[in-house]
């Protein structure tokens, strides 16, 4: 995070992490498509001809609060292909929160597990403690999951200390929920550890409301 009290600006970095083709880029696209154009920047994608992320995707979101604090949320995706591990590590540097996008298809269990471990390694390499890191898990492609797996996801959700979401990102389902929960965790942590609300006069509930409106898009009226 980057807090500039003079300019009254706060910037937070969110990283979408997970195995190849799990739908990280699709999550960002879905957020981009429905977000209020006044509250989002351009979606930057750096990918190959076959739509595999090469370096990262980047979507900036902007929120404004009545206290006059400008909040910038920068959403990144990492490239999921195995060979891009050093790029994943670089994108992950300085992350304030991570959304782990798992693939709910039956054959992807091992890949999910491998990348979960890979996330742990790269966080460690970046000196980011996993202990208090805001992290949510999304099982994407639920439209392709079988009944057993759906049940398992529900089970995991009940037992996990991390929030777990089922999603079908390609239809936009579960995408906003995942991100909102992550932002909420992140703000709670910053407030707990750095007294964010006190030091900046920030009203967390108001900010989350502003986020919800931005994500809902113009239909619900934009920010401000």
């Amino acid at each position: 995070m980057e807090l500039n009290p003079d300019k009254r600006e706060l910037a937070l970095k969110f990283v979408y992490y997970g195995p190849g083709l799990s739908g990280k880029t699709t999550n960002l696209r879905a957020l981009f498509q429905t977000a209020d154009p006044r509250g989002r920047g351009r979606l930057m994608t750096v990918d190959t001809a076959d739509d595999r992320t090469l370096f990262f995707d980047l979507l900036p979101l902007f929120l404004q609060t009545s206290s006059g604090l400008k909040v910038k949320l920068k959403l990144f995706t990492v490239p999921g292909q195995v060979m891009h591990n050093s790029t994943r590590r670089l994108v992950l540097a300085g992350a304030d929160a991570v959304a782990f996008i798992a693939d709910a298809q039956p054959g992807e269990r091992q890949a999910n597990f491998d990348y979960w471990r890979n996330l742990g390694e790269n966080l460690r390499e970046n000196g980011i403690s996993t202990e208090n890191l805001p992290l949510v898990i999304q099982f994407n492609k639920c439209d392709l999951a079988d009944g057993a797996l759906r049940q398992e996801i529900a089970e995991t959700a009940r037992n996990s200390r991390r929030p777990v979401f089922a999603a079908t990102a390609i239809r936009g389902e579960g995408v906003k929920e995942t991100f909102s929960a992550l932002v909420s965790l992140t703000l709670e942590r910053l407030d707990r550890e750095h007294g964010l609300a006190r030091s900046t006069g920030l009203d967390l509930a108001e900010l989350l409301g502003s986020l919800a409106r931005t994500l809902e898009g113009s239909r619900a009226g934009g920010p401000r």
Partner: protein, 471 residues
């Protein structure tokens, strides 16, 4: 938590970039130039700190210059410029507004913020233009009438474009958007190339760490190998001393030095002696091996009659071959010139091949030993057309060796059947010694073999082994 100056180094993707870093100045100037030509409006671009990146005037140059010559004009002109550079422009998320400012001269400017990722990076200023609704000169100019020749001012002002503020605002907004697309593209290019470089150096760093690890483990292995050789040397030396006593005393007993032996005692003692000698041979080859491994093969070169060496080798294994009813024959070219070799090493090499042949050939088999000059072939010929190499081969009609094994049998300790139930004794050292000895002479050894049909091992050696350069 990082407040303004972050403690940890800012990641590639997290660094804020200034307008100057993001645009290519000549391209920006070109872009502005084409706007100026299209709209007949001046364009100025300032960065966040008010530093000027572009300033193109059209029509207004003489007008402003004239007003600037007199001190009241100069002062107010400066006020306007300062305002244009520094007046805060609001940026809310992606929303931005243009602002207008009228100069004391009655001309007007429109300012549009340049926004990138929600941050204000600078501003575009369009103008001056004469507002459409403006009548004659501005009242302020009339107040300063004493200082200026108003007719002149009127003339000069005519060269400045008249336009409606709404139109100029639209142009400014459009210009801002074009610029933002440009900025987005450059930002993307900058991040991408930075990431590329960083990713490559990360990979390089990783590779280096890996190869360092490999090197370390290689060195550890080498050290272990050295320890093993030393261990072999020490152990075999320590084993030999008591063994020579065992053999010596057995021989003395057998020779009757301690009194007559009955046939049964003699029989037992012969077995002790035989096994003892077998053990001594094994230890000797271990010792040879550790010598080879620790200091390489040292040759004592001498002019040597190869046929004699072959005969001595054959006689060494003859008793064993006879016992197994194996026919051992030779084809030796007695006329070949003497060779400069280490006779002991050559004998040992041939004996090793022969004892393998006996060991791996069933009772009643056949072994043929041949030696002679390499048949005239370009490769085997010296500079004056004389033969420069000779061959010794040992051929048997034994069990043979599968093609996949033919390379490996020359490795130390390698045996085709290394199970504990294997039919033949030995430690797997013979051939590796042969190879070391032959290679020390600058020669080579190879095998031709078919499973169940037999094997032929051939030594190919130079007639004259060069003395090694080092003493």
């Amino acid at each position: 938590m990082s407040v303004v100056s972050p403690v940890r180094p800012v990641g590639v993707l997290d660094r804020r970039m200034t307008l100057r870093e993001l645009v290519d100045q000549p391209s920006l100037t070109d872009l502005c130039m084409s706007f100026v030509e299209l709209h007949r409006l001046g364009v100025k671009v300032f960065d966040e700190d008010g530093a000027r990146l572009v300033d193109i005037k059209t029509g207004s140059g003489d007008f402003c210059a004239y007003l600037f010559t007199k001190s009241p004009g100069k002062q107010r002109c400066t006020e306007t410029v300062t305002y244009l550079k520094q007046h805060p422009l609001p940026v809310v998320g992606n929303e931005r507004g243009c602002e207008a400012r009228t100069c004391f001269s009655g001309t007007r400017y429109v300012m549009a913020p340049i926004v990138h990722e929600g941050d204000l990076l600078g501003r575009v200023v369009l103008g001056p233009f004469v507002p459409e609704e403006a009548g004659d000169l501005s009242p302020e100019l009339f107040e300063l009438a004493g200082a200026f020749d108003l007719e002149r001012v009127r003339e000069l002002q005519k060269r400045i474009r008249r336009a409606s503020e709404t139109a100029v605002r639209r142009i400014a907004e459009h210009f801002g958007k074009v610029l933002e697309v440009l900025l987005f593209a450059s930002y993307r290019a900058a991040l991408t190339s930075q990431m590329h470089i960083e990713a490559i150096s990360e990979d390089y760093r990783e590779l280096q760490a890996k190869s360092r690890e490999l090197k370390e483990s290689y060195e550890r292995l080498q050290e272990l190998d050295r320890l093993k050789s030393n261990f072999l040397a020490t152990v075999s030396h320590e084993l030999r001393t008591p063994l020579t006593s065992i053999i010596g005393y057995s021989e003395m007993l057998l020779a009757g030095l301690a009194g007559e032996l009955n046939p049964e005692q003699e029989d037992y003692l012969s077995t002790v002696l035989e096994k003892g000698e077998g053990l001594l041979n094994l230890i000797t080859s271990l010792l040879d091996l550790s010598k080879v491994e620790s200091q390489g093969v040292k040759l004592a070169l001498k002019e040597t009659a190869v046929p004699a060496i072959v005969r001595q080798s054959v006689s060494t294994v003859l008793p064993l071959a006879t016992k197994r009813r194996i026919e051992l024959s030779t084809e030796v070219d007695e006329s070949m010139p003497p060779a400069v070799v280490d006779p002991d090493k050559l004998r040992q090499a041939i004996v090793n091949l022969l004892s393998n042949a006996v060991k791996f050939t069933p009772d009643g088999g056949k072994i043929l030993v041949r030696s002679g000059l390499l048949p005239q072939a370009p490769e085997g010929t010296g500079p004056f057309g004389r033969a420069s190499r000779f061959l010794v081969s040992v051929q048997d009609n034994g069990i043979g060796i599968a093609p996949a094994e033919q390379e490996r049998i020359f490795e130390t300790f390698y045996q085709v059947d290394s199970s504990s139930t294997r039919a033949h004794g030995g430690a797997g050292l013979g051939l590796s010694l042969v190879k070391s000895y032959v290679e020390a002479h600058g020669g080579k050894v190879w095998v031709q073999s078919r499973l169940d049909e037999g094997s032929t091992f051939t030594l190919d050696l130079p007639l004259e082994t060069a003395q090694p350069a080092r003493p």
